[in-house]
Amino acid sequence: MPDVLNVTRAELFKLVRRPAAWTLLAAAALLSQVFGYLIPYLSFAGDGSGPIEGASKDAILASTLPDQIVASTLGGFPVFAGALALVFGALVLGSEYGWGTVKTVLTQRPGRTAVLAGQAVALAMSVAVGVLVLFVLGAASSTAIALSQGESTAFPSVLDLLGGYGAGVAIMLMWAGLGGALGVVLRGVALPIGLGVVWVLGVENLIAGVASSVLTALRPLRDVMPGINAGSLASAVMPTRPPGLESPPGINSDVADGRALITVACYVVVCLAVALWTYRRRDVA
């Protein structure tokens, strides 16, 4: 156990000094703000020909207010935050192979299980902090909009906030775990990122689209897909949307709430198990 803690400390020491980690967080924060607040706000403040069609200005404004923070923040997860988390997981675990530092790390003291466990803990802590940053920025922007428009600055209940935050962390953990496991199994960064992003942004949407329209026999397959379950989990913790606004892309209720949470948790566990199994038994050449 002290070994796991030592590894976690070493990993966090590296992560806070790693430019790539900050770049990913900055990208997630920027995209989250642009799509969650800036674009809706501009549509509201503009001449009415904004990008969001079929919704009243009042509804658009309402979607940016503090009581919609969970929806505004989680709304971006299926489209970009998940992919960024996958990249992050692949970077944290896969880069060690590119730099050849696996051997350096594994000859310090902790055994392989302790090293991977410590890395997983550091990854989880970073993801939790990252999601927190997105929520805090959302809180700041929504409060600013509410104040400037004389609207209510009331946030959801603490329980709803925690539920939203927890679901967000679970979803990001799943994607980061998939990236990390691919990084270990494929011993690198480029291939896991390439495959992962194609999957998240392409293949899964394709399967979901086909399953809901022309080939309903694919639904059982669709319902175990990571992105579909993440979208269902996000939708489970979101408040009722203002009238006339559709759910953000990728947010769905294809899978029942409880099942979505269990599926996401299963992905986290399976990723960890696969990475550990591979890491423990392979020679470090």
């Binding site: 030592n6 590894v7 400390r9 590296k14 730099w99 350096t104 902790p110």
Partner: protein
């Protein structure tokens, strides 16, 4: 295995498919000695060292390091190593890289400055690893190996990529480590290097251990070099001397294995035979000569 044996390897084998990278290698390293692991590139040195550190699982054979199985946390904590080149985080400074390693090892950061000083990197410690020259990276690797104040230091080709001054400093450093009571295992394909700093040597070729002995034993007696003409008379004269143990002709010189007290008699016999003697001197047989002799013998048996 005695208390004085730090590493005990018995019939260690690692095969990749049909190919045996390491084939029934046995060796033992005693406490406090500098052990040279010598062989050409691709002989199986690095694979053997990786198995000592638990990075590679042997196909068969026994392996004990500091009394335990390799890769055990308690053992790794007492070994400082650099295997096949230094590998660190490019976005961190040299010092920060050592801080990371200290955290992994749970060994505290108190020795970092001292260690950077030891490898002469103190002035560049705050520069990024990615800006280091190969020699500096190599020295950081040694610094990381020393950080744990290890009982056993394993260095794989530590002078690779160093300039002559860097090589000299590195050898002096390794010698000091040995003198301070640490056990050092050093792999090298440079025979002169091993000869200068090692107490004992294991020679490996094509995955098989060729010989294991002290440097002195391996080097054997010194040789007498004779440069004289005409060559045929020189050869026939020397052949008649009973106390000459062996003769080999090299280019324009002849090398004899003969006891030092017979040097005068050899010279006299040559002069009396009417030979023009231009040079008679004693040289130590170089490990290089021994090595080629042994490996040539090995491959001709194969």
């Amino acid at each position: 295995m005695t208390a004085e044996t730090v590493v005990e390897v018995r019939e260690l084998t690692k095969t990749y498919g049909e190919v045996a990278a390491v084939d029934q290698v046995s060796l033992s390293v005693r406490r406090g000695e500098v052990y040279g692991f010598l062989g050409p590139n691709g002989a199986g040195k690095t694979t053997t060292l990786r198995m000592l550190l638990g990075l590679i699982r042997p196909t068969s054979g026994d392996l004990m390091v500091l009394g335990r199985q390799p890769g055990d946390a308690g053992v790794l904590a007492r070994i400082g190593s650099m295997i096949e080149g230094p590998a660190f985080y490019p976005f961190l400074s040299g010092r920060a890289n050592l801080q990371v390693m200290a955290r992994y090892a749970g060994s505290g950061s108190s020795k970092i400055d001292e260690t950077l000083e030891t490898v002469d990197l103190a002035s560049r410690g705050d520069d990024k690893f990615s800006t280091y020259s190969l020699g500096m990276k190599q020295r950081l690797g040694v610094a990381a190996a020393l950080l744990k104040d290890p009982d056993l230091v394993v260095l794989d080709e530590p002078t690779n990529g160093l300039d002559p001054a860097g090589m000299r400093d590195m050898r002096a450093l390794i010698r000091r480590l040995g003198d301070s009571g640490r056990t050092v295992i050093l792999s090298s394909h440079m025979l002169g290097e091993v000869q200068q700093i090692c107490d004992r040597v294991g020679v490996i070729n094509a995955g098989r251990m060729v010989v294991e002995s002290t440097v002195d034993e391996l080097r054997g007696d010194s040789e007498l070099v004779v440069r004289a003409t005409p060559a045929d008379v020189v050869r026939s004269t020397l052949d008649q001397l009973a106390y000459v143990q062996s003769i080999r002709s090299l280019d324009d010189e002849v090398r004899l294995r003969v006891d030092e007290r017979h040097t005068g008699e050899v010279t006299r016999a040559l002069v009396l035979a009417g030979v023009d003697v231009r040079e008679v001197r004693r040289i130590d047989r170089q490990l290089e000569d021994v090595f080629f002799e042994i490996t040539a013998k090995e491959s001709s048996h194969a």
